[in-house]
């Protein structure tokens, strides 16, 4: 098989060499013609030299038939030979030979005077460049009168026939302001970069586009919005910036996986993540799902960690990237934007593009920043006096008297201690970052090199145990040939990340009079707990159970491109992606109660995920009639492999030994492995008629090795139209002049999803029945047994997503105020999941397509306005809004599946079913619930919500109803201020759902102030009791435990000040900037807790204060 790839590359290289030779400047010409039309002769010359001829057909016809013979002669000689007996003469302009009548007027220097004679024969030649003189390859040049256009060649040159003296040309290029130019024979056109958001370059699938011309739903976040946030994981910087994109950190640890969901939940399978396809500089990121800690919908993908155990439950690959190396992150949301990714695009696509060098002086940028992370707030919990009051009342209610057995916190321990465990266990953390970037280059070659070092901490009590370090380097190099036709670009990023974490042991609910964590000798204080015979409840063990992990991420890519003729480009891109993770999670002897003579144990994990990717591509753009046709055809070959090795080493007799597996008396290892290959051919055809009507058809045929024989290949496609109504003359007349854009989009298409577990179609045998390790089976008759580990289904196929998207764009006041509104309906059918089978078939489930059909419908709004634009002061504002409604549309046979107990047809997948809470019974002081079936019992039943015997009938959808962000950017001279607000409308679990009075469970002060004490009391909280009865225990499963958790938050504020040039020069630098930034500034919410994003007891998200100094040299 690899032979085929080599052959493919070989063919491609041959092709490149072939076209390269052909492009050489005027090689010697050998021709021989007798009585041939001049045009034929010219064709032969062109073939041999690559020279283009530019002529009026009548002129060339007037030369009649000619005879010519030449051997290895240069161009001029051959032309002389051809033309000496004809009325035709020539002139050479650059790479083009222009043929005219000899009678044409000449300038005094002997060249042809284009202004009259030739020009009247309708020809114009010009060059388009940008302000820096870089020639723009592929710029559009349109004669406004005839609406006919062409594109510039690699050198930015164009030649137009049919131009008339009084014509005006419209010259435009993506990302630049269009320019109207009166026709002249020789034109040097310089385009300025646009300031209009609608015309800014946006990355799309395998190319670029603009908001104005895009049919697909594309949102792009650029460097300036990523840099202003003091986050270490660039994906977290997307939070609130992209309508339709929901970003949720899964744990409080900085390297933890991030749950990313675009336009709602597609899969009913709780084991399936909502992760989109990530592409970094053209290379797809590998996300596998093997190993002990499994990925899932709630927890996201475990990322680089594919083996072992960590308390951050995985390692986000993006935590290994430097946010400052990112030029843009583009989110492709609908089928029109993602169809070319076929079966991988079902959850959307996120494209990360890294920064590249720019021609000019070599620039050095150095920055250092320092942050302090503090918890956002503390819960107002009982102090010792109040806590003991609660405990005594609870004991009384239960008819108990305080004794060492019933209440060591009263009878045994020091009741004068009063510890605020939140302050004790949630210490502030410091982060330091230093970065250096070097960039620059010539017209032909540019480069950028950057490095970053971060030393950070997570919020926790033991700082020395909790220091994380990361280092990143990025490198990019771009080169193009002198004639601009040949381009090569190379880039690589590498990130190293080491974390050392511990868990805090549940700070907020610990009793305030607990004995100290450590004893006099610095060991965990088990003695005070053992004295009460409750040594096994000691809460601080986790402080000495470190979870250590180090990860590496390498992403590298190479792209070679060549322009064969104007508008026709071929390229091949190749990339490699490598992720490594080593972790250990140690239960030290010191963390365990010495009473039980513990031994140490440790999980060790080693993971490696790597993959390569090859993408050949050809694209062609030209004007046909009044429209511009762009055709793209490409392929993709992708291979990815994940290895995991998890070892449980146990029986350590000393904590010093736990650093290595070698020192363990007992080990138990398991190996995980998966490989998958993907191949596709994708293409798109886009026809843009006068920037008024745009039609696009794109598609993908792909195959994945994750499917069984005969099921590997699938086809996906989309068709979309765009109507820029404001370009219609009749509408322009009607519309007020301040309306600058009216555009409508519609598209419909399919994408897919495939399982991220390979080999399910194969019968697999293993030495342990769970397959991924577990305890190996014992030998039988001295033979190591092998058993089948899963049922075999060779027939499962893609999950199919069908998406309809409609959108409207409005622009006002010369596009200073823009609105983009979209409505979508996405249906995901043939859901891949574990289908239940009767156990008599051998297994309880089989991988297959279930009949579940899930629908997401939603509305997204994105408003951008440059409200004030003065010389000194600008104010720009962005407001976005997302509403998504999830619905299980249909699921025939749901009653035969495990989903019957959690999902209901017609409802959201994220809906949960709850008892109806009736409040505290004034007579008994116990919580009471609605007994719908009046059977006198409140039991969950083993059926399904709403069925007989099951009183869970209240449905609550935990997905946000809508979320919205408002970003304001103010600039005054050298000052900048950016503020990002977010608003989320949602329901979440209330901050307190427990039972008050239980040993070592502290409660909020509000509970003490409002609880049941005697029959007849009307209270919010039930009677105090030392053991949670079942009636109290059901509370968290009732609607009483859920509350409005909507909030308005000032997500971040970034203030910047750039030092004046003069001052900068005084201190010997080119520029200097100071940034002061805050994250999580304040939150307004009716939610009774301190962080409506996280349930009670969890460590709240930190408030970050950050200062950064950046110098450029």
């Amino acid at each position: 098989m690899p032979m085929k790839i080599y052959r493919l590359i070989f063919i491609f290289i041959c092709l490149l060499i072939n076209v390269r030779l052909y492009a050489q400047q005027s090689p010697p010409i050998t021709i021989s013609f007798k009585n041939a039309p001049l045009e034929t002769v010219l064709g032969q010359i062109k073939k041999q030299t690559g020279i283009s001829f530019f002529y009026n057909k009548e002129v060339v016809a007037s030369a009649g038939k000619i005879s010519v013979q030449a051997e290895k002669k240069d161009l001029k000689t051959v032309l002389e030979l051809c033309l000496h007996n004809t009325p035709v003469t020539y002139t050479i302009i650059g790479n083009i030979v222009v043929l005219v009548n000899k009678s044409a007027k000449k300038n005094p220097d002997g060249t042809i005077d284009f202004s009259q004679d030739f020009f009247s024969q309708n020809a114009v030649h010009g060059v388009v460049a940008d302000v820096k003189g870089i020639k723009l390859n592929g710029a559009s040049v349109i004669i406004k009168r005839s609406r006919l256009g062409i594109t510039t060649n690699a050198n930015g040159e164009f030649s137009l026939a049919d131009a008339r003296t009084n014509d005006t040309l419209r010259v435009s290029f993506i990302g630049y302001e269009p320019q109207d130019v009166p026709v002249q024979p020789e034109l040097n056109i310089v385009l300025k970069e646009t300031t209009n958001e609608l015309d800014a370059v946006e990355v799309q699938a395998y190319g670029t586009t603009t908001k104005r011309l895009a049919i697909g739903e594309i949102s792009q976040v650029n460097a300036k919005d990523i840099e202003r946030q003091p986050v270490t994981n660039p994906i977290l910087a997307l939070k609130g910036l992209v309508p339709g994109l929901l970003i949720t950190p899964t744990t409080g640890y900085s390297n933890s996986p991030v749950k990313v969901e675009i336009r709602g939940r597609n899969s009913i399978d709780p084991a399936s993540t909502s992760d989109p396809l990530y592409i970094i500089d053209g290379v797809p990121l590998i996300l596998s799902n093997i190993g002990l800690q499994q990925s899932g919908y709630q927890t996201g993908s475990t990322g680089l960690q594919q083996a072992g155990v960590s308390i951050s439950q995985g390692q986000s690959p993006f935590a290994n990237m430097n946010p400052n190396d990112i030029e843009s992150i583009t989110v492709l949301k609908d089928a029109a934007a993602t169809a070319m990714y076929g079966s991988r695009g079902g959850n959307g696509v996120i494209i990360i593009t890294t920064k590249r060098g720019k021609p000019g002086e070599t620039k050095i940028e150095a920055s250092a920043s320092e942050s302090v992370n503090r918890v956002i707030g503390h819960y107002d919990m009982l102090n010792t006096t109040q806590y003991l009051q609660m405990r005594r009342e609870a004991l009384r209610n239960d008819g108990l008297s305080p004794s060492v057995a019933t209440a060591p916190d009263i009878a045994l321990w020091d009741t004068t201690r009063n510890v605020d465990w939140q302050k004790e266990l949630w210490k502030s953390a410091r982060n330091s970052t230093a970065m250096l970037a070097l960039s620059g280059g010539s017209d032909l070659t540019t480069f950028r090199i950057s490095g970053q070092y971060v030393s950070s901490q997570d919020i926790s009590p033991l700082k020395t145990e909790n220091t994380n370090k990361s280092a990143n380097v990025a490198f990019s190099l771009d080169h193009h040939s002198l004639n601009q036709k040949f381009t090569v670009s190379l880039s690589a990023i590498y990130g190293y990340n080491a974390v050392n974490q511990i868990q805090d042991g549940g700070a907020s609910t610990l009793a305030p009079d607990l004995p100290p964590i450590f004893d006099k000798n610095g060991n965990l204080n088990f003695a005070d707990w053992n004295a009460a015979n409750i040594g096994s409840s000691f809460p601080f063990s986790s402080l000495l159970a470190p979870s250590v992990a180090s990860s590496d991420l390498l992403n590298s890519s190479l792209k070679i491109g060549y322009q064969i003729i104007t508008g026709l480009n071929v390229s091949i891109a190749a990339g490699y992606n490598l992720g490594l993770n080593n972790n250990s999670y140690t239960t030290t002897i010191a963390s365990q109660n010495p009473l039980y003579n513990p031994t140490g144990q440790a999980f060790f994990g080693n993971s490696k995920t790597d993959g390569w990717n090859i993408t050949p591509q050809i694209d062609y753009t030209r004007y046909i009639g009044k429209g511009k046709l762009a055709v793209l055809l490409g392929g993709n070959l992708n291979n990815s492999i994940a290895h995991g090795l998890t070892t449980l080493a146990f029986g350590y007799t000393s904590d010093e030994l736990e650093k290595s597996i070698n020192n363990a008396p007992f080990v138990n290892s398991l190996q995980d492995y998966t490989q998958s290959k993907y191949v596709d051919i994708h293409g798109s055809i886009n026809y843009n008629w006068e920037n008024k009507y745009i039609v696009e058809v794109s598609g993908n045929r792909d195959g994945s090795s994750n499917f069984g024989p005969g099921r590997q290949f699938g086809s996906f496609g989309v068709a979309g139209v765009s109507w820029i109504a404001s370009e219609e003359k009749w509408l322009k007349q009607v519309l007020p002049s301040w309306v600058s854009l009216v555009k409508f989009n519609a598209s419909y298409g399919t994408t897919g999803s495939y399982p991220n577990i390979a080999y399910q179609y194969l019968s697999q045998w293993s030495t342990s029945s769970s397959g991924n390790g577990g305890i190996p089976l014992y030998t039988y008759n001295n033979v190591l047994p092998q058993v089948p580990i899963h049922a075999v289904n060779q027939d499962y196929r893609w999950e199919t997503d069908k998406e309809l998207n409609t959108a409207m764009d409005l622009g006002f006041f010369d596009d200073r105020f823009n609105l983009h509104a979209s409505y979508y309906r996405k249906r995901t059918d043939d859901q891949l999941s574990a289908l239940p089978t009767p156990l008599f078939t051998g297994f309880a489930t089989v991988e297959g397509n279930s009949q579940a059909n899930v629908q997401n419908t939603g509305i997204e709004l994105d408003i951008n306005a440059r409200v004030i634009e003065n010389k000194d002061f600008t104010w720009a504002t962005t407001l976005n809004f997302t509403h998504n409604q999830n619905k299980l549309l249909a699921f025939p046979g749901i009653q035969y599946t495990p989903y019957y107990s959690t999902e209901k047809v017609g409802e959201s997948l994220n809906e949960i079913y709850l008892y109806h809470y009736l409040g505290v019974d004034p007579q008994t002081g116990q919580r009471s619930y609605q007994d719908y079936d009046q059977n006198g019992l409140i039991i969950p039943g083993n059926s399904y919500p709403g069925a007989n015997g099951d009183d869970r009938r209240i449905a609550i959808d935990l997905s946000p109803r809508f979320f919205s962000s408002w970003i304001n950017r103010f600039y005054y001279k050298s000052f900048g201020l950016i503020m990002q607000f977010s608003y989320v409308k949602q329901i979440a679990q209330a901050p307190y759902t427990g039972t008050a009075g239980v040993f070592n469970v502290n409660v909020p002060v509000s509970v003490l102030n409002d609880h049941w004490q005697k029959p007849g009391d009307i209270s919010t909280n039930p009677r105090f009791t030392t053991f949670g009865g079942s009636s109290d225990g059901y509370f968290f499963q009732s609607d009483g435990a859920y509350t409005d958790a909507s909030y308005l938050r000032l997500q971040n504020v970034a203030f910047s000040y750039s030092l004046g040039n003069n001052f900068a020069k005084k201190i010997g630098v080119q520029g200097a900037r100071i940034d002061i930034r805050m994250e999580n500034v304040f939150t307004l919410s009716k939610y009774p807790g301190i962080d409506p994003e996280l349930p009670f007891g969890n460590q709240p998200q930190p408030k970050i204060y950050n200062a950064q100094l950046t110098l450029t040299f």
Binding site: I565, I618, Q675, Y780, N781, T837, T841
Partner: protein, 499 residues
């Protein structure tokens, strides 16, 4: 304006993409086999790996899938104690002393099963069908294998072993549950949506499989290097004899039993009852060899752990005790009552702080010791049953030889230290003697008593009057309920009536 040379380029590029397109065939996405697991093709490519697949069947049957965790209070494998426990509870062998009302063993002991509380019977169902799946994998894997390195003798041997195991599993399934679905392939498409097959059809399949196994399996114990741990021709013969007996084919049953009894070279009754379950027992026809490296099981058998008195000083507190009905069935002087029964004097037990437990396996939780020799394997089939099968075939048969029947019974009685029966015994009395002999010989062993009571029609008369089983819930209890989850997933399955 004309663009010269364009067509040539396009041609080349189309060629390139045609190449790419053509190569975008299956081969481009062909991947290597996984390295951490083996595929069916790989497993059945050599003698050694194919043998490991069959070892997987035996190992999970006796050791479960999760190490020593299989040895919990009521077992998770029908073939590692579960059948014995549930069959003994449901009949009148043992009772659950530490009975918590509605707990799993309690509902079996009182015959108050419902579709919801019979979780332990699901373990029988699940583990038996799991062994059937593995056996089907072996049968189909070998048939599909084209490997020359998988030799014919191994193919024949392993296929026959797998068929024996399949028959063995279906025997217990149909006796516990009645009509059961029959999965004879690993293809879930063919098996998933099937109704229950009539018991008669299940027996036909069992007999067919056993005949195949009998014809192909070795007549010696070479497969286990002399240990009787891999089923052979005689294991198939004894099970076939039992199946014929259950099906009422007495002549066939007697013929099969005779062929074992006559094989003096391999088999004979152990005169010392303490040796019957030993690893070297001449009475053993098939034993499952439990692991001796499990930290919980150590050198004990699953049943030893389950039934032991829990302390070496015999003051322990075992969960399962022999019933008064069983203890009363022993004649005075029966050595089985002393050798195969242990006791504890824990004060909690009535009437005088004395309780009796099965003690066929001498290593229990109290005296199990890791690293020590393993004195006993888990006995599945033993030749004493051949005598009792022939005795019953002759007794319950109008054309049978009553004298021969008594003679066979006396062989067993003599070994137990009992006097011979009256040579003139016949008719109902003889049948009764056979039943009683089976009761005391096979108590707490593989559900014999439960199946015997059911197939001889005595279950109602015997069980419905036992005080512990009041109120007698009804004879529908004689079949266990089909696991509810199975019916949920396969709606062609119908629950046993009464549940």
């Amino acid at each position: 304006m004309k663009i010269h040379g364009f067509k040539t380029n396009i041609f080349w590029l189309l060629c390139f993409f045609a190449c790419a397109g053509q190569m975008a065939c299956k081969k481009l996405i062909a991947i290597d086999e996984p390295i951490n697991t083996l595929t069916t093709t790989e497993i059945f490519s050599t003698d050694a790996t194919a043998t490991s697949a069959m070892a997987g069947v035996y190992s999970t049957m006796i050791n479960g899938t999760n190490g020593g965790l299989a040895v919990n209070s009521y077992g998770s494998e029908f073939s590692a104690g579960s059948t014995t426990l549930l069959g003994s509870l449901s009949s009148d062998d043992i009772y659950f002393f530490t009975a918590v009302s509605n707990s799993v063993p309690d509902v079996f002991g009182t015959n108050h099963l419902t579709a919801q509380n019979a979780g332990a019977s699901s373990a029988v169902w699940n583990s038996a069908y799991s062994a059937i799946y593995k056996s089907n994998s072996v049968i189909e894997g070998i048939a599909a294998s084209k490997s020359a390195a998988l030799h014919d003798n191994v193919r024949t041997e392993l296929t026959a072993e797998a068929k024996f195991i399949r028959a063995f599993c279906y025997f217990y399934l149909t006796n516990f549950f009645g009509d059961v679905p029959m999965a004879l392939t690993v293809d879930f498409n063919q098996t998933a949506n099937q109704p229950r097959m009539p018991q008669q059809q299940v027996y036909q399949q069992i007999i067919a499989d056993l005949k195949d196994a009998q014809a192909s399996l070795a007549a010696d114990y070479s497969a286990g290097s002399g240990e009787r741990i891999i089923p052979n021709k005689w294991a198939a013969t004894l099970l076939l004899a039992r199946v014929y007996l259950y099906a009422g084919s007495y002549a066939d049953a007697a013929t099969q039993a005779t062929s074992i009894i006559n094989n003096n070279a391999l088999f004979g009754l152990e005169t010392d009852l303490g040796n019957v379950f030993s690893t070297t027992s001449r009475e053993a026809v098939w034993q499952l060899k439990q692991t001796s490296t499990d930290p919980n099981l150590k050198n004990a058998t699953p049943e030893g752990i389950m039934f032991g008195v829990t302390t070496t000083d015999h003051h322990g507190y075992p969960q399962y005790c022999l019933t008064d009905q069983l203890l009363a069935a022993f004649e005075p002087g029966d050595r089985r009552r002393t050798v195969w029964v242990d006791s504890t004097d824990h004060p909690n037990y009535p009437p005088a702080g004395m309780a009796y437990v099965p003690h066929k396996y001498i290593i229990d939780a109290a005296n199990a010791d890791a690293g020590q020799p393993v004195p006993q394997y888990y006995m599945v089939l033993r030749m004493a049953e051949a005598y009792l099968i022939r005795a019953e075939a002759n007794a319950d048969n109008p054309t049978g030889d009553a004298a021969a029947s008594v003679a066979d019974l006396n062989v067993i009685r003599t070994r137990a230290g009992l006097s011979n029966l009256d040579a003139g015994l016949s008719g109902q009395a003889l049948k009764h003697a056979v039943a009683r002999e089976r009761q005391v010989e096979f108590f707490a062993e593989w559900g014999h008593r439960w199946f015997d009571l059911k197939r001889t029609g005595q279950a109602h008369a015997v069980l419905s009057v036992i005080p512990m089983k009041q109120q007698w819930a009804g004879d529908y209890q004689l079949l266990y309920p089909i696991p509810q989850t199975e019916i949920t997933v396969d709606h062609f399955l119908k629950q046993n009536p009464g549940y």
